[in-house]
Amino acid sequence: MKVSPALTSYLQIGPLLLVLLLFFGIPLLVVIAYSFFQFDGIDSVPAFDFVNYVDVLTSGVTLSLYLKTLYYAVVVWAITLLVGFTVAYFLAFHVQSLIWQMALFLLCTVPFWTSNIIRMISWIPFLGRNGIFNNALIGAGITQEPLEFLLFSDFAVIIAYVHLFTLFMIVPIFNAMARIDKSLIEAARDGGATGWRIIWDIVVPLSKTGIALGSIFVVTLVMGDFFVVKVMSGSQSASIAMAMSNQIAMVQYPPAAASAVILLIVVSLMVAAILRVVDVRKEIAG
């Protein structure tokens, strides 16, 4: 039996497309449909009503939730970018042995393949009132009283985010940096450029696709998070997704779906803004 090349392509892509449509495409449409349903206090009633959107958009809570979540996203983005860039720069330009480079890179990526929840809770014995930090600070005589702001605070939330998400910056930035022609750096140095000039004028522009990809990952992860903010803030802070998960827990699906659609629009706009600054399409499409 002879199969035409075009048909072969579709047979080969079929399973991927099927899974994505069944468990991503259609569910997304279902969420959009539910966002127009009415909620009568117990059940979701099929309808075409904007009431959920009106409720979300006119609620005073929504704005403060978005401001809080955006605050987390911006702070975490800035920290992970700085740390991720520095680590990737060290790996790409200062570690010369390829084996060492690979080994240290893997050291940074191994936590990605372990549980996020476990990595998050591992901060609890560190940051608590009687935690390792406080004991160390008191032991060293730096403070008399344990610091209260360490756990169940914005500080704890941001530390956990940085801990969980920095490798999403390191991997794409390292990838981009590894492709930079080393002779460019040599040429700049021979031309008398300082280390900072080389970083700013050569390394940063040539690794901007990696920076953009990492930024997309970090921003979308923080914007969609509900469990880190819940545990690490001790339920004292909130994020958009956490408010949504509370609505879902109370089976208020239509309002939750409306929040989901609005969140999706906001996140898409943020991704679009990043893509406007840096076109990463060539990068990921090979």
Binding site: I13, V87, P111, T114, S115, I117, P125, T220
Partner: protein, 286 residues
Amino acid sequence: MQKLQTGKRPLSFYALSIFFGLFVLFLYGPMSAIYILSFQGPTGGLTFPMRGWSLHWFDALFSQQRTGDFAGAFTRSMILAVMVLLLTVAISVIAGLAFRRRFVGAAFVFYLAVASLIMPGLLVGLGVGLTFQTLGVQTKWFASALGAQLTWTLPFGMLIMFAVLSRFNRAYEEAARDLGATNWQIFLWVVLPILFPGMIAVALFGFTLSYDEFPRTLLTSGAANTLPMEIWGMTTNVTSPALYALGTVTTLVSFIAIALALGSIAIIQWRRSRPVGNVSSAKEPE
């Protein structure tokens, strides 16, 4: 900054090394603390000091009263992770092959996969959960949760296959064809062996991302919990080192998976890099 090639390291190398060291400490320090704390004595608490050493909390994990159905959740998570692994490898490989040819709709599938990758997990879970509810089908960990997890592992698998296939030399296939191999023989004896290390990498992502998946599984696993859900339940209910014991056991499984995957890739690459001694060993091994 001096030349990188010269024997003497520039000052920035040492500064960056220290930064990198601190980052690794930041990455692994808290995790190590909970592994140690999981061996607390029976009277020990959630933080240091250690009150003796024991396996008490691992014991508590398996005695159901305290922690829910750990053994059942563990079994389900393992089965689910293996299912996701097999499907992710199979679907990603053939999808990767499809993308080597141009076909109408390739860009659509590609962007659908990328959107699926960065979609907040809770929204995917909400969508799949609502879709099943609308259809009147009960959510089950081996159906709805399986599908929801695939929307996250398949894009990773696809991107890894892109990277692997971009270095794939098609001359091997043409040589096999010239020697009279059928399409199926070429796939089985030429393409698959060459792609094998990449497939192990995809398998690693499939297994670990499923095994630790939380936001997409939360609303789709139905009545029976998977392990991350069990851990999540414990973070809010259990305030004993049993939580850390669970963390230690879970992470051990992840580490075994990572070691198996990276170890076998390293062995394969090492065998391939060996010089070929005689003609008979030049034959591609199974």
